[in-house]
């Protein structure tokens, strides 16, 4: 592609300048073939760029302009779709290019209940029979209730739905933050241990809330309330998107009933809170001591995958937070430059130049405002999304842990059974008929327990498989729609900037 001694700034005029004849898709080289017989789940290795032959994984190794160079390695489509695409042919305006045949390979068999086997990646509705999913929840109108340290924010929760599950089509209730926490705690206690990924509630913030309680009406506490409002909304939407959780009576009660019993056990410094912390610690210790014989490669691989994802998302989140910070700094620096340019304009004695400089100052000030808005978009779309997913991944990992616990329980009862059987054999040998009967009864009980344990384990494994599939699908949709919204904000910012600069240009030209 490019030689090493190339000046990286060569492409002054355009970002994506490609040399004539340069193909976006390099010929699939003599690398390891992607075609694999039989079903294989997509491992991270498969998705590496080895498919394109000599080209290596790094996007940035060679020509930084060839952004599409690595594009071909990842996606697989089922062959029927691909044939349709290739035969219909796109509109004549599209220049024919080397079809990335290495990409479009049926790599996934249909044997696995895996999302990648679906023929289209998104538009798959949860066809659970009954209503199609149609519910929208919004959290709005934060209002401070009460005074002093007992004050709290109450939010209006509005549900709009056409589903028969609900009595009305549109209704709202008022809820406070601890109500949300209470809901989550109930759902977690009901569903986590059987393998459902329960979306985590937004985090508590003692500092943030104290500012609000104390009555500080400043920008930072307003931002805090807005941040929380948005987080609560996302939390509820994620919860109701889960087909099982949606039908839960606690969820329905939360959305519909005007009065809700106060959830006291959610207080941070309550005894229940402390108990929760202790349990969490105990769980962590237990996790370390459970040595599970993983017979199912799917679980092993998925767990590893979520571990890695956790690390990656955290890093990404940190980088996006840095972006938000820097953009806020840019906005500040622009504002201060605008003021300085205005002063310079005043000082300038050439009339037309003076006017142009003042105009420049105005443009910079308007753009600084744009940058500030953009920083908010950066934050709400990207940073919060990533933060949500960091917490969600923790919930997913929790579900895997539950499976381990279930397995442990099963193994424990099996061990107990074994012991009891040995004891029974001993009793039989020593001929103690009365104790023998008791032992036989206990054994029967334990046998049932073991059977139940095995069933539980299989059930939770099955549930988790489905849940992970659903989770991944949701996440693609989530990221996709959020990224689109984010790009739209960027687009708007750019369009505005064009307007401002185009208005300024004649002023600059008017300098004589």
């Amino acid at each position: 592609m490019a030689d090493a001694a190339r000046d990286p700034q060569q492409d002054d005029t355009g970002l994506l300048e490609l040399e004539d004849g340069e193909d976006l898709f390099p010929e699939p080289g003599p690398g390891p073939a992607l075609e694999e017989s039989g079903p294989a789940s997509l491992t991270t290795e498969d998705l590496s760029t080895n498919a394109n032959g000599p080209k290596q994984a790094s996007l940035f190794d060679d020509d930084p302009d060839d952004l599409f160079a690595e594009a071909t390695e990842e996606v697989s489509l089922d062959s029927p779709d691909r044939d349709v695409l290739l035969s219909d042919g796109p509109s004549p305006a599209i220049t024919p290019m080397t079809p990335p045949t290495s990409v479009i390979t049926p790599r996934i068999g249909h044997a696995h209940d895996d999302m990648f086997t679906h023929s289209s990646f998104d538009e798959i509705e949860e066809e659970d029979g009954g209503d199609s999913f149609d519910i929208h929840i919004s959290v709005s109108d934060p209002e401070k209730v009460g005074d002093g340290m007992n004050a709290y924010m109450a939010y209006k929760v509005t549900t709009k739905t056409s589903m028969s599950l609900f009595k009305l089509r549109e209704f709202s209730v008022r809820r406070r933050f601890s109500d949300f926490l209470g809901l989550h705690s109930k759902l977690a206690s009901k569903y986590l241990h059987i393998g459902y990924i329960v979306p985590p509630a937004p985090e508590k913030s003692i500092v943030g809330m104290t500012k609000v309680k104390v009555g500080k009406e400043d920008q930072s506490s307003n931002e805090f309330v807005e941040k929380r409002r948005s987080a609560l909304e996302r939390y509820l939407m994620r919860t109701v998107k889960h087909p099982i959780l949606l039908k839960d009576p606690d969820v329905l009660q939360f959305l519909e009933s005007s009065e809700l019993p106060r959830a006291v056990s959610t207080q941070a410094l309550s005894s229940a809170g402390l108990l929760r912390m202790v349990n969490k610690a105990a769980d962590a210790v237990n996790k370390m001591t459970i040595k599970m014989n993983e017979s199912d490669a799917w679980f092993e691989e998925k767990q590893q995958h979520f571990e890695n994802l956790d690390v990656q998302l955290r890093k990404l989140h940190a980088s996006v937070e840095s972006l938000v910070l820097h953009r806020k700094e840019l906005s500040m620096n622009m504002a201060s430059f605008a003021k300085s340019a205005a002063m310079l304009g005043n000082s300038e004695d050439h009339t037309a130049l003076s006017r142009a400089l003042s105009q420049l100052a105005e443009v910079e000030e308007k753009i600084d405002q744009l940058q500030q808005d953009q920083a908010n978009a950066d934050f709400y779309f990207l940073s919060e999304l990533l933060g949500d997913y960091v917490r969600l991944i923790t919930a997913v990992k929790g579900v895997f842990d539950q499976r381990m616990k279930t397995w442990q329980k099963w193994q424990d009862s099996q061990m107990m059974l074994q012991k009891k059987r040995e004891a029974e054999a001993k009793l039989q040998f020593n001929n103690k008929p009365d104790k023998l009967q008791q032992a036989k009864d206990e054994i029967k009980e334990l046998e049932m327990k073991v059977q139940q344990g095995e069933r539980d384990f299989e059930q939770i494994s099955k549930t988790i498989r489905k849940e992970v599939g659903r989770f991944e699908k949701e996440r693609v949709k989530d990221f996709k729609s959020t990224v689109i919204q984010y790009l739209e904000t960027l687009l708007q910012t750019q369009q505005q900037m064009i307007k401002y600069w185009e208005a300024f240009l004649p002023e600059a030209k008017a300098i004589s």
């Binding site: 599209i94 990656q312 972006l323 037309a352 990224v483 689109i484 369009q495």
Partner: protein, 423 residues
């Protein structure tokens, strides 16, 4: 740090220098065919830059019609300082000396890169390394341009272009370091002292007799402080843009990570690339803004300082004249050495008048020059901003389209390719 061959000399050829490198700060230079100067080549070794000064002339005062000499930054400073010290040029605005090549930014970045190597991903590291090299190259190009403009200002000045030392600078094919050393010994700290006390002379001020100069004094003092402030603020803006570009690098390299791929599937390719391209635009904005706005402000800040220097010299001459008057009065009172005192007074008056006349001309043409340069730069800057914003919106637009056309992968790639070609 081994990877960046700091020691290896980097050569910039004429091609590189002229290739789309926008001339930002001065206009209408190097038009007179009788004396054409440019710096077609430069060699950078560590942070020492060797410029090749190339002259083409029809003037008989030069030995050859075309010739080149190697020069260092210190040679330029020597030339500037000798011009400043020349009495005959006291009434002229001496073009500001080019600033010393400043590789501090890239050097610091290189340091950070070396330290962070362990924690960065391979892609991130490679990308930052590329950025660093680009930044280094940008500093290099900038310093060449600034040195070239200095010479071209001299060659287009009707009086300064006849200076003997200027000719020596252009023509003398030996090392100038001997001359430099002699000059330093002669002038040494004198120049610096003059500048330091100059402000006081001007401000505490001898009473100004001429309205024009009174106005100029007020204007230049005020304008200087304002433009200095604007320059500093513009530099801060540029740094913020660079920070954002760096963030985009980090984000795009993280998003490219294999592990994330599974979750975002191919959406991530698109997002990655949108971030990469955004980063390139941000980086380019940073460097283009740097050229246009910041460089413009920086250059004229120095130029205004040179204009102020002229005012200082004139104010000094006025002070000398007033002192000579006092001396003459004293001499008349004492009836001693009257003719010398009269002679001295006449000389001071002549010097002052000469400075005033030439100073007026210089300051008037300076204003014109400044207005023209600002105009050109503001127009170019606005046009660049518009272009970048359009490019960014195209990118965003087609990525949005792309994300939406999910299944039709080939179709979507096709659209992207077309849109790319149209940028």
């Amino acid at each position: 740090s081994s990877w960046f061959n700091w020691a290896k000399p980097v050569q910039l050829s004429r091609e590189e220098l002229t290739k789309k490198y926008i001339r930002s700060v001065s206009v209408d230079l190097n038009n007179d065919a009788s004396l054409l100067i440019d710096i077609p080549d430069a060699l950078c070794e560590r942070d020492k830059v060797k410029f090749t000064v190339h002259t083409k002339t029809t003037l008989s005062s030069f030995q050859k019609p075309e010739f080149s000499v190697p020069r260092q930054h210190e040679d330029f400073i020597w030339l500037h300082d000798t011009l400043v010290e020349t009495e005959d040029y006291a009434g002229l605005i001496i073009p500001p000396a080019p600033p010393k090549p400043d590789f501090e930014g890239p050097r610091e970045k290189m340091h950070k890169l070396g330290e962070g190597e362990a924690t960065m991903t391979k892609e991130e590291y490679t990308k930052m390394k590329q950025e660093l090299e680009a930044e280094y190259l940008a500093v290099f190009k900038k310093t060449v341009q600034v040195h070239e403009i200095f010479l071209q200002r001299l060659s287009s000045h009707p009086i300064l272009n006849k200076d003997r030392n200027f000719q020596i600078f252009l023509e003398y094919d030996q090392d100038l370091s001997v001359r430099r050393k002699n000059a330093k010994e002669m002038f040494g700290g004198f120049f610096k002292n003059m500048v330091k006390s100059a402000d006081e002379v001007l401000i505490s001020g001898v009473k100004e007799v001429d309205d024009f100069f009174e106005q100029e004094k007020t204007f230049l003092l005020d304008y200087y402080s304002k433009i200095k402030d604007s320059t500093a603020k513009a530099e801060k803006m540029t740094r913020s843009h660079k920070n954002i570009a760096d963030d985009y690098i980090r984000i795009s390299s993280l998003m490219y990570q294999q592990k994330i791929t599974r979750i975002l599937i191919y959406t991530h390719i698109v997002v990655t690339m949108s971030f990469v391209s955004l980063q390139k635009v941000e980086g380019r904005v940073a460097s283009d803004q740097e050229l246009k706005l910041t460089e413009l402000l920086r250059y004229y800040m120095r130029d205004i300082q040179a204009a102020k220097d002229l005012l200082y010299r004139r104010a000094r001459a006025l002070a000398d004249y007033e002192n000579s008057n006092k001396a003459l009065d004293k001499a008349r009172l004492k009836s001693k050495d009257i003719p010398q005192a009269e002679e001295h007074q006449q000389q001071c008056l002549q010097k002052f008048d000469k400075l005033s006349e030439s100073g007026k001309k210089e300051l008037t043409s300076f204003k014109g020059r400044r207005v023209v340069a600002f105009r050109k730069n503001l127009i170019e800057m606005a046009e660049l901003e518009i272009k970048h914003a359009k490019v960014r919106s195209s990118i965003q637009l087609y990525y949005i389209c792309f994300i939406m056309c999910t299944n039709e992968l080939q179709y979507a790639w096709g659209i992207c390719k077309i849109l790319c070609e149209q940028i």
